[in-house]
Subunit: 405 residues, 2 copies
Amino acid sequence: MERIVMKFGGTSVANPERIARAAKLVQDEVSRGNQVAVIVSAMGKTTDDLLKLAVEVNPKAGRRELDMLLATGEQVTASLLAMAIAAQGLEARSYTGWQAGVTTESVHGNARIEQVHADKVVSTLESGAVAVITGFQGADSSGELTTLGRGGSDTSAVAIAIAIDAAICDIYTDVEGVFTTDPRLIGQAKKLEEISYDEMLEIANLGAGVLHPRAVEFAKNHQMPLRVRPAHMEGEGTIIKEEIDLENNLIVRGIAFERDIIRITVMYDVPYNGSLANIFTALADHHVNVDIIVQTIMEGVQPSVSFSIKKEDFAEAINVLETEKEALGYNRADFEVGLAKVSIVGSGMVSNPGVAAQMFEILRSASVPVKMVSTSEIKVSVVIPESDMEIAVAALHKQFGLDND
Amino acid sequence: MERIVMKFGGTSVANPERIARAAKLVQDEVSRGNQVAVIVSAMGKTTDDLLKLAVEVNPKAGRRELDMLLATGEQVTASLLAMAIAAQGLEARSYTGWQAGVTTESVHGNARIEQVHADKVVSTLESGAVAVITGFQGADSSGELTTLGRGGSDTSAVAIAIAIDAAICDIYTDVEGVFTTDPRLIGQAKKLEEISYDEMLEIANLGAGVLHPRAVEFAKNHQMPLRVRPAHMEGEGTIIKEEIDLENNLIVRGIAFERDIIRITVMYDVPYNGSLANIFTALADHHVNVDIIVQTIMEGVQPSVSFSIKKEDFAEAINVLETEKEALGYNRADFEVGLAKVSIVGSGMVSNPGVAAQMFEILRSASVPVKMVSTSEIKVSVVIPESDMEIAVAALHKQFGLDND
């Protein structure tokens, strides 16, 4: 007997048929003799529909009331899934976040979980029933409803798995697992059996979208094994844990990519006496997310700083640069659109210093120009023309030995 | 400054426009210097839609999970209305039943309110904000969500009005107030300025549908004045309280009616040695609501008992009579369909013993045959052919002096 957490995202519970399918998966786990706690998101587009209603009523609705509104989404799913599990002949009880003891800080819209008092859930499991718990939400210590923000249901699942001392936290999604790269782009992409927390964190931060980085970090901090599994088909998915067997001794484990990247370059007069921090403080104040930063301050060369941003932040970035030009003290700025970011990720890279050089060589052979570079212990990212992105990913995938046999 | 409760039913908050209209009515009360607590039902057909989903997932869903599901309906309305009130420039905070301190017995689907710990609501009001509270729901002492059953939101409104010591509990509906009879049937029907709790109770029990009897009884027990008011138009509505001014010394204050009544007559062999209780116990066990009961046990006449039921209970009643025939020991049963019940109601009837006779005389003059009679201190009901119902109501309305001038 093991205690297991199963988390179903919005698409996995989007309609009564899918809820029934999820209930069947729960029954399978129970019939293996396991105690099961289930965490659910709101059904499909429910959250969007509720937000639309809110905008109709008050386009500037406060976060507290939005939390009250949105919290209903998961409650609907949780009760329906409990009913569907009961229809399979099992006992099931649904709980809201606050009923399940999920206590958060007193922040609306983006609260962090502080504690989980899981007594009620544990006694439900020990009585032989399935507990179905609303993800994405909790309550603060004064009983105000709070939501956790993006990826919140994954975080709920991990927090509850830790609180009830589960053997594993299974995240059911609409994908088969974690792949070496996006199989929609590269047909040769391969599903990984295992991946380390750190690798998953890099991949999640690079926008792979399977799991929220906050949830991965939470799991890593408590060494809670995660598993990304398909909800609509058979399959063992991908296990995420601390120590993994390096499959075929692969140094690079995955390739992530992101389209619609823009590079902005700001040039300063000689001599340069400003502070780099100023420009990034100004951008951060306006919620512009800056990714890669490259600065050039060399004798005899015009000082400059380049940084990459996402397309959706472009207008705001330009706005900041224009309105703050005098304060920032730069000479001129230009930008390059139509770029993409490609990253190679792998824990083994720490002990293999030649991997970045190998990456540049592969790109050079494929005639892909590199505009910017950024490295971490287990990742190398390059910014390249978006028109070369598919060629670059395919070449890296093949040359680093990731192609499917 | 007065403290006021405003309750909006489902049709009064069915869409964003109506929610905005309700918010405007709240603002009007606040601008008169009043502290306002608002109680809301689920929007329009939300409850039906949720139940439809439940049936798809599990046609035999348990009451606990149905309560979890249905409780979301009012929470959506409460948060949206709080947003709409904020859009009017006021401060507003929505609360679920449990957050507002509504504690019920541990029963799902039809719980009774045990206590209201209104500290949170009162401190919200005293801070100058509007409190918007979900009707129809609460939580038991262990934090399980419960719903109050039919008419629950009216009951919530009254309970909260009592707990916060409100001056009045205004029930906003889609009608102008309480009428002498249904104006859709009788054009001469007149809106009443005031009506007593007891009269309202009789009218509510007779299916007038404006207010749930449980809410009226609750208000009467605590002498909380109620007012039924129109949500979509101007109008003072009807006040419901203990002592009322008899307008024009009218003895009969209102005429209620109900279609689709069926009379069942059960005949026994002579000599009769059974117990009347048996048949009604059997019917009650199968949730058949019996209204008027008339028994005939006279020397030399075949003993019989007649009772009236609603059409929707007919199949089940016949089923009970057939399967229990032997146990009940009756000889034969017949039934008459196509009947209606018409009732006259008025507190003044207690001291006017001739009212029933006057009613029969009016019906006789209108050639309406009376099939069954039932009287209480402030009500006389008759069962008549449904085809005569409109004539009967019109004649009674005119002859008892209720017609509009």
